[in-house]
Assembly symmetry: C2
């Protein structure tokens, strides 16, 4: 075990993970009480102090990170993952700046969502309040540790973190730095805690801490999210899996369609709002597919096409005959499933069958087609005549983004700070009894 891990691991680490993690969650809940009634000024000052502390601790953080990177390299981690794991002085500054940007955002807590005076004179207000304790389960990148802590604190919550073991030393040191900075601000250091010291069983215990943890947000690949959804008894907000479709209707503006397709597929391939399947109305297959497939090929995309699609593929474009598995795959790579459909109904049916409910787009100049697609497709975001890549908290103007929810409860689509809060009904009477 590394030095930085030892420093952050209390005596409890030897204990039963279930017991130890419940104790962490209990301390988080107690600490959250201090933050629930804190003013925005207090929270923002704390966020700025955390940013300063992180930058001041750059050497410590980089030393811990170097341990992770060395362990990763020894374990044969790919260069791409090593790059995501590695911190530099510039990256530490960028992570700290993100905390300062959070401080500049409005505080969701205290917003009066609705209110009225009832006929009997009772005064009713529904007010936004913090959840209490937010759990975050995520993978390798150490910047998520800071990001998650910042989002939780800004929205008035304590946070319990479970990061990937690949970044264990970095995360342990970062949590330590943040906790020390909180204490220096007169806030409980238990507002930011990690359960990494208890490994995988600690993560499972966190998923079962119902009543102590109010919400769990998994951030990472499909496997991680599926595990959390299956295991957790704590309420979960499911994020991120995006098998997104782009449908080019018979009446689409084909001059617009090509740049939108390339943007949706190739601007960033590893993200959940990248397009994974292209559907083309058969009436425009001749006019659109040859140039579209050529451009995709040029961009390095492998086309997984049905027979009608492959018949239009020019020489030199990498193609694979599509199987049903392709319709259900979120590639997150330079691959695209392509299918020619008979009409709008067939397109909607395909989307309804294979969508993960993230983002679905139609390109059309036909008003009725756009309205039917919007009404009948069931997804967090339905986009008309634009790239799927716009489904994003930043792009939507929501400020900081916790993730993109693909479930229907509580939050759907890009989640901002408000989604880490709940509401409380406050009722004022004057001796009222119910008749």
């Amino acid at each position: 075990m590394t030095t930085s891990l030892e420093q952050s691991t209390p005596a409890l680490a030897q204990d039963d993970p279930e017991v130890a993690v419940l104790e962490v969650a209990r301390r988080a809940r107690e600490a959250s009480r201090a933050l629930a009634t804190a003013t925005r000024a207090t929270k923002d000052a704390a966020l700025r102090a955390l940013a300063d502390a992180l930058v001041a601790a750059t050497d410590r953080v980089l030393a811990a990170n170097a341990e992770d990177v060395a362990r990763g390299r020894a374990g044969g981690m790919s260069e791409g993952l090593l790059d995501r794991l590695a911190l530099t002085p510039e990256r530490v500054v960028a992570i700290a700046d993100a905390l300062r940007e959070l401080a500049a955002l409005p505080d969701p807590v205290g917003e009066v969502v609705r209110g009225s005076t009832l006929p009997n004179g009772l005064r009713l207000r529904q007010v936004r309040v913090p959840m209490g304790v937010v759990g975050m389960i995520y993978e390798a990148r150490p910047n998520v540790t800071v990001d998650a802590a910042g989002l939780a604190l800004k929205s008035g919550n304590a946070v319990v973190l479970r990061g990937g073991s690949a970044a264990a030393s970095s995360n342990a040191t970062i949590v330590e730095v943040l906790a020390e900075a909180l204490a220096a601000q007169g806030l409980p250091r238990d507002l930011v805690q990690s359960v990494d010291a208890w490994g995988r069983p600690g993560g499972v215990a966190l998923m079962h801490a119902r009543g102590l943890v109010d919400v769990l947000v998994p951030r990472g690949g499909a496997d991680l999210i599926a595990t959390v959804v299956r295991e957790a008894t704590v309420p979960v907000i499911e994020t991120g899996v995006g098998n997104c479709h782009l449908y080019v209707d018979a009446s689409a503006d084909l001059d617009d369609a090509l740049p939108i397709l390339l943007n949706a597929k190739t601007q960033r391939v590893g993200v959940c709002n990248a397009v994974e399947t292209l559907l083309v109305h058969r009436d425009v297959a001749d006019a659109f597919l040859p140039s579209a497939l050529a451009a995709l090929g040029q961009a390095g995309v492998t086309v997984h096409g049905d027979a009608a699609t492959l018949a239009h593929a020019p020489q030199g474009v990498a193609t694979v005959p599509a199987t049903e598995a392709d319709w259900g795959t979120e590639y997150l790579s330079l691959d695209l499933a392509v299918r020619v459909v008979d009409d709008l109904d067939a397109a909607i049916d395909h989307v309804r069958r294979w969508s993960t409910g993230h983002t679905e787009a139609i390109l059309t100049r036909d008003l009725r087609a756009s309205e039917r697609f919007v009404a009948e497709v069931d997804a967090a975001a339905v986009i008309v005549n634009a790239s799927t890549r716009f489904t994003d908290g930043g792009q939507f103007g929501l400020g900081a983004e916790i993730g993109i929810s693909t479930q229907k409860l509580h939050a759907r689509g890009p989640m901002g700070l408000a989604e880490l809060t709940t509401t409380k009904w406050v009722v004022h009477g004057d001796g009222h009894v119910r008749p």
Copy 2:
């Protein structure tokens, strides 16, 4: 098996419950598509047609209900439960009228929750849409069958019902009548289905139908709710358990306090917003407790008091020394735990320790005390100077009530029709690509 059960049980009932219930859920999902884009006029006409059909089928419903009542009586069911189970022509009319009242409520679907035009010209709207398929798991009372179906349909959802076995014949017949009436309206009969034919395993299968059922609402006792929360992989909205407190502060208006206490405890004892623990500031224990305990005794309430409380109990009041178990008990009966506390902090600490997060009330004339109680108590509803009995969808003016959520995700407190919907982001562009 009774005739009415046989009529409503398709061939699938002999199959594996897991397979059969998933098929029911799949049909519900398909049927929900027809309702998702239905206008309010269509839905309201359907609700009125269901009401008419129920009244027209009174004889059939009462015959099935008589089977349940006979079975219940043979099985030794208490008179109270038999009364809740039994239907009469008048009760059928009342159940039908509730559907007509639902038809008169505004439609939550289509509401634009927020919207804006982004700097790049993308037009953004967040629109309220149906969930899709709502699952409802509940206990004996057959009126809940109609109620749940009506709430789901009004909010544009298909519903899959799992009722208590005690009302199996009544529920099967009611579902049949509703499905026939839907078909007569040109709507899919699969919009209202029951999985009662597959018994307890069918209920469990419904809890596991993730991806087909969008939300599960358990309605019933604490055991039922705990089971659903533990078992379900479908997102659950937890309802109802209310260990509610009433705190009489040092500065309370004691003339108001007595009627509020009696109202909160005795107006209806079996409901989740009835008070279960009374906390009294020690400075007013002498002035308040003797008369309060006498009045409670008069009303038939047994007082489970701490030593300081019992010292104030007049002759003839039924008292029991309170143990810690009393602080954690939702009696739902003519029992009340009573404790004298040293100050506001002790009251808040007691509430934070034992609250189920339903409704907590303070009686005070001190502004700071009321503000601290409101800010520091973590519950769906915090009430100042009024009875806990006001936490109710009808009382809050929300129209129909699905239940009272005690969780923090999605819905907290009384849930109206809007809580059976989700939202969809609709984005309109004109060839936009993300830079």
